[in-house]
Subunit: 368 residues, 2 copies
């Protein structure tokens, strides 16, 4: 739901944006197949309105490739495979292609096994977690994806960022309704939304971020500067101890345990700890084969009932709609597929400079 | 962390309390083995300080047994079993014995399969979710347990209770540290904590409960009365839309999907919908065999590191400790195992009346 501010945006077709990303990455010696995967994952985020995880990440990825922090010309490998699980060593390659390999293996194992999980170590930032969970939908499965990340979130009663915003994504098929797609940071807000607030000139409400004294931070610009030095932190979901922020903290820790501790990746404050070393991010993927439990059509009918009853329940005064997780993003995707993806002009200029710097003649083609 | 108010409590030994519960249940024609399981689950909750899920539930269970809403002299059955999954039909028997059967099967399947899950339908209230997750710990596995429940929680932008407080429990072994045991309602507070607030004469802070107009409810007594008529609701974790309550709502829905929709049980507002019909609660259990992923000792050492680093991180002013999920409950368990379980005198009298009513001569033996 991060939308660029309305003033200085242009619109770009998804196809043109994928081609631009692919061109940048192949110029940086990424294989065409890996580049195409990264392009699809980033553009999928932009299409769904999750602009913090879209093409805005390309500059960072390109920088890490150029500095050798992300390895090119190699692939992730499936290191161990059992009946219901597999372990992937991403070998410090690009996050998205390694994650796709892991999720594809997970879906394959779940088909015969009922459910399966795959861990990934030596990984990198893989983009929007929901992308991988949603890969289960066309196969009539339930998909889950989690990842740990650089430290930004303080534990309850603490002020030091010790855990990532560690997202949980789950996708469940439905029938006539949109699928259920929960894709949530376990902090009150993900880091990207503090950047959006800064761009829009908005303040952070109490409950989002704290300083080293535990006092609320309202200026997103101040927060973004300080967080690099670990002197400020995001708060876990729940925000305050009396509103059960220890649950958000517990969920962030759970994601770190499954993604990092169990996989053999870095965990806690050690993820991406040394700027000149590989990040060694860890991921966790899971798939459940619906047909192992009940007929797929029955699951879809039951999901439709749950969704309809929730949407038809009584609204709070002033509210017109109750949303299902993922619904706003599906509606955004339909609009943006038709009308193009709105991008901030500053971002477009930054990306164009990147193309010029690395010497590829590609241009971001603007619709209007 | 629900503690009876300090004024009118007595202390009871865990062994005596288990014997009392078993005696009540066997008098109601529950088999000794099922009665012993229910007694152990309830007393485990009291020992851990989760008094809302302890012996306080016995009156409700006994009432449901007497009215034929819970079936006795039958057992749950494993209806379907695959390599990594099983489906249990609890046949409307007592919640805890059916849940134990499901979790035991789950652990057995995960041992050879890497991970496994088991769904339960036609279930009943199973007590403290963490009990089942923690069954994985002595086997060096990760355990998970979820259940849906009677509707109490409103979706974001809604005011009508449509989902249960739907808990998520996860247990992960550690080495020298206490295991990680997250056991959380997906609402800001579970219902039991509103009852505790009432008993203590405390008000509910804004962000816990709302009335039919979406306005905060502060008086727990008013809330407890109204919630039976579905005219008030608990708020999902996050409390307010601007602090991301849609995430708590999404998690509550996720638990309902895995526990209810996928299992074939009731779901959403239909759980325990008709007071004269079986509740048809649904559960979800999962186990991960640590040794499939890395040596157990390595997992435990890594858990200890994560836990120690979190606990040693900088505290907010005025805070002395950072807690790991489950830590307070482990400390309470040690104290109560030694000193006995403090029970409110009103509760003890209520339980004694129950024993008298059903004609069993058992007495709750008080330590002092």
């Amino acid at each position: 739901m991060d939308k660029p501010n309305g003033n200085h945006t242009v619109r770009v077709s998804p196809t043109a944006l994928r081609e631009f990303i692919t061109s940048i990455l192949t110029t940086l010696e990424v294989s065409p197949s890996q580049a195409a995967i990264v392009a699809d994952v980033l553009v999928a985020a932009n299409l769904r309105g999750v602009d913090s995880h879209g093409v805005a990440l390309l500059n960072w990825y390109a920088n890490s490739l150029s500095r050798g922090l992300i390895v090119k010309n190699e692939s992730a490998v499936i290191e161990t495979e059992g009946p219901g699980f597999a372990i992937v060593d991403a070998r410090n390659t690009l996050g998205a292609p390694a994650a796709i390999m892991a999720m594809d293996k997970c879906l394959e194992l779940a088909r015969t096994n009922g459910l399966a999980c795959v861990t990934v170590r030596n990984g990198n930032h893989f983009g929007m977690a929901g992308y991988y969970a949603m890969k289960a939908l066309p196969q009539d499965m339930v998909g889950m994806a989690m990842t740990n990340a650089s430290r930004l979130v303080a534990p309850t009663f603490g002020v030091e960022p010790m855990l990532g915003t560690n997202p949980i994504a789950v996708a469940v098929p439905a029938g006539s309704e949109y699928p259920f797609v929960l894709d949530m940071a376990t902090s009150t807000r993900p880091f990207g939304k503090t950047v959006v607030a800064k761009d829009r000139g908005e303040l952070l409400p109490e409950g989002v971020a704290i300083d080293a004294e535990g006092q609320p931070v309202h200026d997103p610009g101040v927060f973004i500067e300080a967080v690099r030095k670990h002197t400020m932190a995001l708060l876990p979901l729940g925000s305050f101890a009396e509103l059960a922020s220890y649950k958000g903290y517990g969920l962030a820790m759970l994601v770190d345990i499954l993604s990092g501790v169990l996989s053999g990746a870095n965990f806690g404050k050690h993820v991406n700890e040394h700027p000149e070393e590989p990040a060694n991010v860890g991921h966790w993927f899971m798939a459940i084969n619906v047909a192992s439990f009940l007929p797929v059509n029955e699951l879809k009918t039951r999901m439709d009932t749950l969704i309809k009853e929730l949407k038809e329940s009584r609204k709070a005064p002033g509210q017109q709609r109750i949303y299902i997780p993922g619904e706003i993003e599906f509606e955004t995707e339909i609009k943006r597929t038709k009308n193009g993806i709105p991008l901030d002009l500053n971002l477009v200029n930054l990306l164009q400079s990147l193309a010029d710097d690395i010497g590829t003649p590609v241009k971001i083609e603007v619709i209007e």
